[in-house]
Each structure stands twice: as structure tokens, then as C-alpha cells.
């Protein structure tokens, strides 16, 4: 499903984020990427999501190279993925409901389905009582849970989670990771990037990344 061949990413300032990374993630796999800050975890997820282009090497997701795909193809590919961003990327002025619902509205789902689905997913992440609060008024942990809810609400084929429990207490983190693993059990391909080691052993594969290179897989 996801094939990365010898991918490297060097930023304009000469900083090497990834160097010769080769990776293959099959459909239904739960791949955990662990490494310290600056190891290249976020860059790797960005390459898969098509937010960045590799300097060399190639990335293929479901047979599509995001770096070479047209805008329409890339957007179509993104609609089949869910990304819980490290910095959440929530629309601050919108309510929690609106932030989660927009992904389903993009897919043209009927209003009744959108309502029931968003309600259910916000309940999973424990945010149903704050459904009509603005995203800007939520706490860091709540915003992270909302970002994850938005990433899974449309039952995508691939879920990317960048530091999904970074700003959460142990209990909330457990809830969120349970949700992610539940999605995996439903057949979704999950890629989690985290600097911590907690919860990551529950994945089907674990990759250790350091200085932009795979240390251990």
C-alpha cells in the first residue's frame, strides 16, 4: 500500500531530514515510527501525505506518487487518508462539530449521516459534551483528540498520526491510543509517529528513526 524507496529530504538550509529511507507498509498494518525530536518522523509522514516532495527517491501510496500527482489526484488521495497533525490544524473559529463534520461534507455524505457519525466519533474521543464549543476554546488535549476525531471520522483507508498523545495525560492518551488501535482492528492502515515508547509495542511493526535514517525495523 505504501512503498518508500531510498527517500531523502534535504531542506533549503541544507538540513537533512531524511536520508535513504526505504520502507514498505502493507494494507491493514499498524506501523509505529519512534525516534527523538528531529529524527525525521514528521517529514516521513508529510512525504506520505504529499505535503512535501522527496529530494531524491520515491514515495508511492496506493499506486500514486504524491509528489508527481496532479492537484486533483493528490486531493482525492488525501480524502482517502486521515492525518492527525502534530499542530492539529483545526479551524479555530469553528466548533468541534464543524471541524469534524467538514471531512464528511467534503465527501458529499448526507446530513443525517454526518450528524450521527460525528456524534459517535466525538463520543469515542470524549468530546461530545464540547461539540458546539469553538476549537479555540478547547484545551490542548481536547484539541488533539478533536484532530484525531477528524482524522478517523470518514473511516479512511490510511490514518497518519503525528505525536497523537503528545499533550495528553496518561488516561487521555490511553483513550486515544485505544481508538487508534480500534481503527487498525477494523482494517485501516495506521502509521503513528511518536517520540515516546509508550503504546507503540501494540503496533504490527516498529521502526526506529534517528538522524533521518532507519536505525532499527
Amino acid at each position: 500500500m505504501i512503498a518508500i524507496e531510498n527517500a531523502a529530504k534535504v531542506y533549503d538550509g541544507g538540513v537533512t531530514a531524511l536520508s535513504g529511507v526505504s520502507l514498505r507498509i502493507e494494507k491493514g498494518e499498524c506501523c509505529c515510527i519512534q525516534g527523538p525530536s528531529g529524527a525525521g518522523k514528521t517529514t516521513l509522514l508529510n512525504l506520505i501525505y504529499g505535503l512535501e516532495r522527496p529530494t531524491s527517491g520515491s514515495v508511492e501510496v496506493a499506486g500514486i506518487n504524491p509528489a508527481r500527482a496532479s492537484h486533483a489526484t493528490l486531493q482525492g488521495l488525501r480524502r482517502h487518508m486521515g492525518f492527525a497533525f502534530q499542530d492539529f490544524k483545526l479551524v479555530e473559529g469553528w466548533s468541534a462539530y464543524e471541524n469534524a463534520a467538514v471531512v464528511l461534507e467534503m465527501a458529499g455524505k448526507p446530513r443525517s449521516y454526518v450528524r450521527s457519525r460525528v456524534w459517535k466519533v466525538l463520543e469515542w474521543v470524549g468530546l461530545q459534551h464540547r461539540m458546539y464549543e469553538r476549537a479555540a476554546d478547547l484545551s490542548g488535549g481536547e484539541r488533539q483528540r478533536l484532530a484525531l476525531a477528524r482524522a478517523v471520522v470518514h473511516t479512511p483507508e490510511i490514518i497518519l498520526a503525528d505525536e497523537p498523545v503528545a499533550s495528553m495525560d496518561q488516561m487521555s492518551a490511553q483513550v486515544v491510543m485505544n481508538l487508534i488501535f480500534r481503527m487498525h482492528k477494523r482494517g485501516m492502515t495506521v502509521i503513528i509517529a511518536s517520540h515516546g515508547k509508550d503504546f507503540l509495542n501494540e503496533g504490527t511493526s516498529l521502526i526506529r528513526l534517528n538522524h533521518g535514517m532507519i536505525e532499527d525495523a
Binding site: 488525501r78 480524502r79 479551524v91 479555530e92 473559529g93 471531512v103 461534507e105 467534503m106 458529499g108 446530513r111
Partner: protein, 285 residues
């Protein structure tokens, strides 16, 4: 399929976050719509007038200088040879002065001290009822005769309108083009302001995989809504103004018709087209 709840939320947000801006845009659209509606009405009225036969039944033909009796007779024959003339009556200047004193009153300062010699001799030309619609052509032909000073006939308001059709149409088109440009700019700026306000939102939605149709449909709907509402309000106001004119100026009642649905449809369609153009330009930038 249009994301209706998403569009509805955008419109509601636009109304609540920038109500003054929406109100001013609607006001500007309504005023432009009113002026556009009046331009369309004026051009249509002049066009209608140009299709109606001129209702003159006689015309005054003034003769140059002091013609001899023979010259007057030759001129009478020349006039008689033209088609559409039923009767020609020679009116010497003394008779002309008598008529003027009769119409204006003998004490009127315009004619009180006037000498007959200061006036021209004239012919009163009565038109054949079957050729009344050719009065204008006939007047031009008579005017081209060498001994003729001037030709006057009562065209009525419709006649004047018909005569000015090209001028009214040209003015109307220039005026309407100016209004369309202004309205297009209003739509363009409104959409640009709205897009600026949504910059972060659009960036995030693009990250989530939103296509252009999803991102920009709310703007198209907002601009279309404002322009159509403005055009409808403009047509209502123009209709009211036309009715007020007809009610208060009796001479206009027989000439001016009511502002009709066809004219309103032209205004609304024009506004819709230019709102789409304005949105298109704003989104291309």
C-alpha cells in the same frame, strides 16, 4: 452534490461576522440594480416609441427671404409633388402674426410689438392620414428644398423619444456598462475580503483534501445571493419610481408603460452574469 450545510454555515458566518459589510454590499448592489433597471427601462421605452408611427397631422414649412408670387407657386408645386401630402395652405407673414397673437394673446410681450415683416412666409402642409407615419421622412425631404428655411411639426413626446432612440440607446449602454463595471468591482472586492477572512480555513481544508468546487462554492453563492437580492430590490425600486412618475405627471401616463417582468428579468440575468464574472476574477487572483 453541493455541500448545502457547509454553504449555509458560511453564509451565516458571513452575516454574523461582517454584517455591516454585507449590508453595504447589498445596498450598493440595490442602487446599481435600480440604475441598471432604469437604464433598461429607458432604452426599452425609446425602442417602443421608435416602433410607433409619429402622430403628426400637419407641419409648418417656413420659406426663406421674401419670395415672389411666382416663387411661392413653384414651391407649392414642388411640395405637391411629394408623396403623402393631402393639402397645402399658404400662410403669409401677416396671417402668421395674427395666428401667433391668437395663440399667445395679443398682450404677450413676445408678439405685442412684433411686425409682420419680421416673420417668414409659410406653408401649412396637411398630411395624408395614410402617410402620417412618414412625417419625419417627409420633413427631411422638404427641408432639403432650396427655398425652405425650416420645417416644424408636432411629434409629441413619443416622437421625440423615437427620434432620440439611438442617442438614448447609446447613453443607456454606456451608463449600463459603467454600472456593470462598478457592480463587478463590488462583487470582486467582496469576494476578495471574504477570501482573505478565510485564508487559514482554506489552507486547512486544502490540507484535508478539499477540491476547488468545495472551497469556493460558498463564495459563488454569497456573491450570487447578494447580486440577485440587489437586482430584485433594484427592480422593485425602479418599478416604484416609474409608477410614481406616471401617477404624478399626467402627460407621461399615455407614453410610459409599467416596469415589466421582461425588463426585470434582463436586469436580474445581467446581475447574475456579472456576479459570476466578478467571482471568477476574484478567485483567479
Amino acid at each position: 452534490m453541493f455541500p448545502i450545510p457547509y454553504i449555509a454555515r458560511h453564509l451565516k458566518r458571513a452575516l454574523t461576522l461582517r454584517p455591516l459589510s454585507v449590508f453595504l454590499t447589498l445596498l450598493a448592489c440595490s442602487l446599481a440594480g435600480t440604475l441598471l433597471a432604469l437604464s433598461v427601462y429607458a432604452v426599452d421605452l425609446a425602442r417602443t416609441a421608435s416602433l410607433v408611427p409619429v402622430s403628426a397631422s400637419s407641419m409648418m414649412v417656413y420659406i426663406k427671404g421674401r419670395p415672389t408670387t411666382e416663387a411661392i407657386e413653384r414651391l407649392r408645386q414642388d411640395l405637391a409633388s411629394l408623396p403623402g401630402i393631402e393639402r397645402i395652405i399658404f400662410i403669409p407673414r401677416a396671417e402668421g402674426l395674427k395666428r401667433m397673437r391668437h395663440w399667445l394673446g395679443a398682450d404677450n410681450p413676445l408678439v405685442a410689438d412684433l411686425e409682420a415683416d419680421e416673420l417668414p412666409d409659410a406653408f401649412e402642409v396637411r398630411l395624408d392620414p395614410n402617410h402620417m407615419d412618414q412625417a419625419q421622412t417627409l420633413a427631411v425631404r422638404i427641408g432639403h428644398l432650396a427655398a425652405i428655411e425650416d420645417v416644424r411639426y408636432n411629434q409629441g413626446l413619443m416622437g421625440h423619444l423615437a427620434g432620440s432612440y439611438r442617442g438614448i440607446m447609446t447613453t443607456g449602454i454606456i451608463f449600463a456598462a459603467g454600472l456593470i463595471l462598478c457592480l463587478g468591482l463590488i462583487v470582486f472586492l467582496t469576494v476578495r475580503v471574504s477570501l482573505e477572512g478565510r485564508r487559514d480555513e482554506i489552507e486547512i481544508l486544502t490540507l484535508l483534501g478539499a477540491d476547488r468546487l468545495f472551497l469556493y462554492t460558498p463564495h459563488v453563492m454569497e456573491a450570487l445571493g447578494l447580486c440577485i437580492a440587489g437586482a430584485v430590490l433594484g427592480c422593485l425600486l425602479a418599478g416604484y419610481l416609474v409608477e410614481a412618475l406616471r401617477a404624478h405627471i399626467s402627460i407621461l401616463q399615455g407614453v410610459m408603460g409599467a416596469f415589466n417582468l421582461w425588463q426585470a428579468a434582463v436586469v436580474i440575468v445581467l446581475c447574475m452574469l456579472l456576479s459570476l464574472t466578478g467571482v471568477g476574477l476574484a478567485l483567479r487572483r
